[in-house]
């Protein structure tokens, strides 16, 4: 029985390898379309379907695998994509732990990787392994400083923190602590809750007992509305800050009246139509929104999908350069691709303008971030 299965797998591998070696560009994607990060992964998956099918004269194949928000599956997918499908680049994964786990695999296989996950740890500091790794989402520290700046500018002294009991909440707490310290803010409470919790009354009561000036909710997607609604229900009168993880319209739907006046940093794509006309990101962001909503319905755009879109743009630019140097499917192509990625300059994406360098594999600057507020049930850009 075991022999039979091994032979079948080997045959499968051989046939797939043969098919892939026909000088097409193969892009391997591993993302979390199921599991706790599904609300991030599904828009990303939808975006991959919109990516260019041809670069130059070469056909591009996208092989999308789901890793169910699990690190073991993410690593296994990456190995499969590299060894079976012979991909030239890996796009993934959606969440930080998965991306961190994939670093070893891609660096050993010398295949470039563009991650769609939040933590700066994925690309910093650039060393032998991480030189193969790039990412598109803004670093948490960038967003955290935006929040801390805004808080300080508005006379806030104490902050109550309530976040997810997972890598996202943990990472945000660490980054925000740094940003808060730099601005002289005190974090008065540090509460956590699970994404699937049905009630956060206890955490809300604890927060209220320390009477912070403002509350920062570090969650992603609609579950981030729960603490806000509960606090409002309990009579909390201070302001709320959210993170860029809630930047989709479902949050507005679930939050309803209770999220009016919330402040959050976000990628420009969220309020693309409100950007001033000369804004370098406006055109590229609107292009993405148009494409995504044409395929998935009006109002369905999500900033997470936009991270995948940016990854696609980076890849397209770099592949165009790399094709001049080597043929797809060869190690030289992959090295050329990595070099080209590192040399991308002034590429306008949905979330900002990317300028990579040997020490900065994210490439976003202040143009990749805006402060947004929720006004009358819609996102409103703040000047």
């Amino acid at each position: 029985m075991k022999l039979l299965n091994k032979k079948t797998v080997v045959a499968l591998a051989a046939s797939l390898a043969a098919a892939a070696a026909l000088a097409d560009i193969n892009v391997g994607v591993t993302l979390s379309a199921t599991g706790p990060a599904a609300s991030l992964g599904i828009p990303e998956k939808n975006t991959i379907a919109l990516m260019p099918q041809k670069i130059g004269n070469e056909k591009v194949n996208y092989i999308v695998l789901d890793d169910a928000s699990d690190t073991t599956t993410a690593v296994s997918n990456t190995r499969k994509l590299i060894t079976e499908q012979k991909v030239d680049v890996i796009i993934g994964s959606t969440v930080t732990p998965n991306s961190l786990a994939m670093i070893d695999v891609v660096s050993e296989a010398k295949t470039p990787m563009i991650s769609m996950a939040a933590s700066a740890r994925i690309v910093e500091p650039v060393d032998d392994k991480k030189r193969w790794v790039f990412k598109t989402p803004q670093n948490d520290i960038m967003m955290a400083t935006a929040i801390a700046d805004h808080m300080a500018a508005n006379g806030v002294k104490t902050v109550g923190f309530v976040g997810f009991a997972d890598a996202y909440g943990e990472g945000w707490f660490q980054e925000f602590t740094k940003a808060a310290q730099a601005k002289g803010l005190t974090i008065a409470a540090n509460e956590r809750y699970n994404r699937t919790d049905t009630s956060v009354t206890s955490q809300a009561l604890k927060l209220m007992s320390v009477k912070p000036d403002v509350v920062l909710v570090a969650g992603s997607g609609t579950p981030a509305a729960l603490p806000q609604k509960t606090l409002k229900e309990r009579g909390y009168a201070g302001k709320f800050y959210q993170t860029h993880g809630v930047a989709n319209n479902d949050f507005l739907r679930v939050g309803g009246k209770d999220v009016e006046g919330t402040l959050l940093p976000a990628g420009p794509v969220l309020v693309a139509s409100q950007l001033p006309d000369g804004h370098p990101v406006k055109k590229s962001a609107l292009a993405y929104i148009e494409k995504y909503e044409a395929a998935n319905g009006k109002g369905s755009v999500s900033t997470f999908g936009a991270h995948a879109w940016d990854a696609g743009l980076l890849f397209e630019r770099a592949a165009g350069e790399a094709l001049k140097k080597a043929k797809p499917g060869t190690p030289e192509f992959r090295t050329a691709l990595r070099d080209a990625l590192e040399q991308v300059k002034d590429l306008p994406g949905a979330h900002g303008v990317f300028t990579m360098s040997p020490t900065d594999h994210l490439g976003l600057d202040q143009r990749g971030r805006v402060m947004v507020t929720i006004d009358s049930g819609a996102w409103k850009l703040m000047p």
Binding site: M1, K2, L3, N5, K6, V9, V10, L12, A13, A14, A33, T34, A38, K45, A49, V64, L65, D66, A68, S69, D70, T71, T72, V75, S76, N77, R79, K80, T83, E84, T96, P97, L100, A101, I103, D104, S119, R121, A165, D166, A167, G169, E170, G171
Partner: protein, 640 residues
């Protein structure tokens, strides 16, 4: 060509093909190996010993995190005096992981394995989740984000960084573990472990320390999981809490059940099936159903449902049955010459061996036994007779240690046995059979009887795993065979052996003289159905009890006393009449026919030791009225 040859051929083929396999196939085989290790532990725990556990993933996590911390911690390397990237650190991690897991498992087991029935699986879920959330909250373990930079293993200077080389190590460890577990199950301790599932009362009266065995099996499964975790950490080189969540714990149990929870190879099969199925679904579903949805989980669940409906016992028994049609049966193992087993010296005839004084048992307001006195002397047969509900089983439970009297004392061989468990009685040479004969239905007659001789062996777990117990095993099996002959079952034992059903000898296994139970129990996938043992079961049980004591008389054919024959039970009691037995045999059987029963409660009388004696009815009521129609149960406990 028998089954063993096929297994060896498969292993050799795998080893030979290893350098030529595709890279991803090797990766898959690594994962299969890791999961099989955990699943094998679960087979021992759940399939063999009957304790369902959902928490194995947490133990994998303990092993993985221990080595992750040990390999990356500056604190540890400096305190051990090693360089930061030393090749010895992963091995320190292994030692640390096994030690911590063993300690935690021992502690958790001591507490939660007391839980009976459905409380145990829930407790495993509870601490499985606790450990998972604990991992995520400890900063020095990387919290939820995880710990990276774990180095690869180095064995004698050879780096196992590539999956190909590490995979060899994984499979070597797995096969070694399977071999050790197989040896363990095939030994005296293995029989004791198998007895844990279907009834601890019987095992305890044979001298098995069931509570201790349960904890040991639990710790064994935990150590296997920790070993798997260690290898996983050094393969992936990054650990975070998500692979140790309850979902994975459930999946391991899945693998064990789908593969066949009672069979070690079922673990490997289950791990293989599930891992490969997930890969195939991932590859082929998008082309079949379109890439828009995530149908893998749905289709996977549906396939599992279909498999479970068709093969409720798992896939391995079905495959083994099919394969055994054209495979020869495995020849019985060749054992070295047996060593002598310890026997207890016989007490001189006439000495009081068992003494009960004013034994009273109350269940709430109900008095089951009221100040019963009993003296049994060596060499005599005592019969305790009475109608249903008289309190016979309750009394038996008290003089054999299954239960404790509310008042009164029991002395065995002069020692006060108040509050001692039935193991202690068994250690002094007391053997007992039960009214509901507690046979292990999936094991052969020889195995059932050999369980009786458990106390007379000494070799423990380690000796069993390393095959150092073969001489003693030969002695135990020889003793069991002798007892089967004594009971007159020698010729029929092979025919009664329904367990070889799995080995394909279906035709031979059907008993020629179909006992009604054998026919009823001859459903396609079942062996002896417990609770319906047929008329030979009594013999088997008595043989088991006799093996426990080492009775030594020659087997003689004697006609069965009329009463006993009409009751349909075995003739063992009358044989014991002639045995100058060292200690006491308590043979318990219902007499069945109402007219044979005495009318006034329990009485005891010395029975004249020759066959054909009729029971005399002495009208000496010595026992309180029994409750109306209380159903008899060997445990003597009031039904809820």
């Amino acid at each position: 060509m028998n089954r063993r040859h096929v297994v060896i051929a498969a292993i050799v083929a795998l080893a030979a093909a290893w350098p030529f396999l595709g890279e991803f196939s090797v990766t898959l085989l690594c994962y299969i190996g890791l999961y099989s290790m955990v699943a094998a532990g679960l087979v021992m725990l759940t399939g063999v010993a009957g304790m369902t556990s959902f928490g194995q993933a947490a133990f994998v996590g303990l092993g993985a995190y221990a080595t992750a911390w040990a390999s990356t911690s500056a604190l540890l390397s400096s305190s051990l005096g090693l360089a930061a990237g030393s090749a010895l650190l992963p091995w320190a991690g292994l030692a640390l992981g096994l030690a911590i897991t063993g300690a935690v498992a021992w502690g958790l087991g001591a507490v939660t394995l007391r839980l009976s029935g459905h409380y145990l699986p829930l407790a495993t879920i509870a601490w499985g989740l606790s450990l998972y959330y604990l991992f995520g909250n400890l900063d020095f373990l990387g919290g939820h984000t995880g710990l990276g930079g774990i180095p690869a293993l180095t064995v004698f200077g050879v780096s196992l960084a590539s999956t190909r080389s590490l995979g060899l190590a994984i499979w070597a460890v797995l096969l070694l573990a399977l071999w050790a577990l197989h040896n363990l199950l095939d030994s005296r301790e293995g029989r004791a472990i198998r007895a844990l599932k279907s009834g601890r009362v019987m095992a305890e009266s044979m001298g098995v320390n069931t509570a201790g065995q349960r904890v040991k099996v639990f710790v064994l499964a935990a150590l296997l999981a920790a070993l798997s975790g260690w290898l996983y950490a050094h393969m992936q080189r990054f650990v975070n809490p998500t692979p140790f969540n309850l979902n994975l714990g459930i999946e391991y149990l899945f693998m064990a059940v789908i593969g066949g929870s009672g069979h070690l190879w079922g673990a490997v099969l289950g791990a293989t099936v599930i891992t490969l199925m997930k890969q195939y679904l991932q590859d082929w579903l998008p082309t079949l159903l379109g890439a828009s949805g995530s149908f893998e989980t749905i289709v996977f669940g549906l396939l599992m449902l279909i498999v479970l409906q068709r093969f409720a016992d798992g896939l391995w028994p079905a495959i083994a049955r099919a394969a055994n049609r054209w495979l020869k049966p495995v020849p019985p193992p060749r054992l070295p010459p047996p060593v002598a087993l310890p026997t207890t010296a016989a007490a001189p005839a006439g000495q009081v061996v068992l003494e009960a004084r004013a034994v009273t048992k109350r269940f709430g307001g109900l008095v089951a036994n009221n100040a019963v006195d009993l003296d049994v002397k060596a060499g005599e047969i005592h019969a305790l007779i009475g109608p249903n509900g008289a309190g016979k089983s309750t009394f038996f439970n008290m003089i054999s240690g299954v239960d404790d009297p509310t008042e009164g004392r029991v002395h065995l061989l002069g020692r006060d046995m108040g509050g001692r468990p039935s193991r202690a009685f068994a250690a002094l040479g007391l053997g007992r059979t039960f009214q509901h004969v507690r046979l292990l239905g999936t094991r052969s007659v020889l195995d059932n009887v050999a369980l009786g001789a458990h106390r007379r062996g000494r070799r423990g777990w380690l000796a069993a795993m390393l095959r150092l117990d073969r001489a003693e095993e030969a002695a135990l099996l020889a003793e069991a065979r002798r007892q089967i002959e004594r009971c007159g079952l020698g010729a029929q034992a092979a025919a009664l052996d329904l367990a070889p059903r799995l080995a394909g000898r279906d035709a031979a296994a059907r008993p020629r003289r179909g006992g009604r139970a054998a026919r009823r129990g001859a459903a396609p996938d079942r062996a002896l159905r417990p609770g319906r043992p047929g008329r030979h079961a009594g013999c088997i049980a008595a043989a088991r009890a006799a093996a426990h004591r080492g009775d030594r008389t020659r087997a003689r054919r004697t006609p069965v006393p009329a009463a006993a024959r009409r009751a349909g039970r075995g003739p063992a009691a009358s044989r014991e009449a002639r045995a100058g037995t060292a200690a006491l045999a308590i043979a318990q059987r219902g007499l069945g026919h109402p007219r044979r029963r005495a009318r006034h409660g329990v009485r005891h009388e010395p029975r004249r030791p020759h066959h054909g004696a009729r029971l005399r009815h002495r009208h000496r009521p010595r026992h309180a009225a029994r409750s109306a129609g209380r159903p008899e149960s060997a445990g003597g406990l009031p039904r809820r």
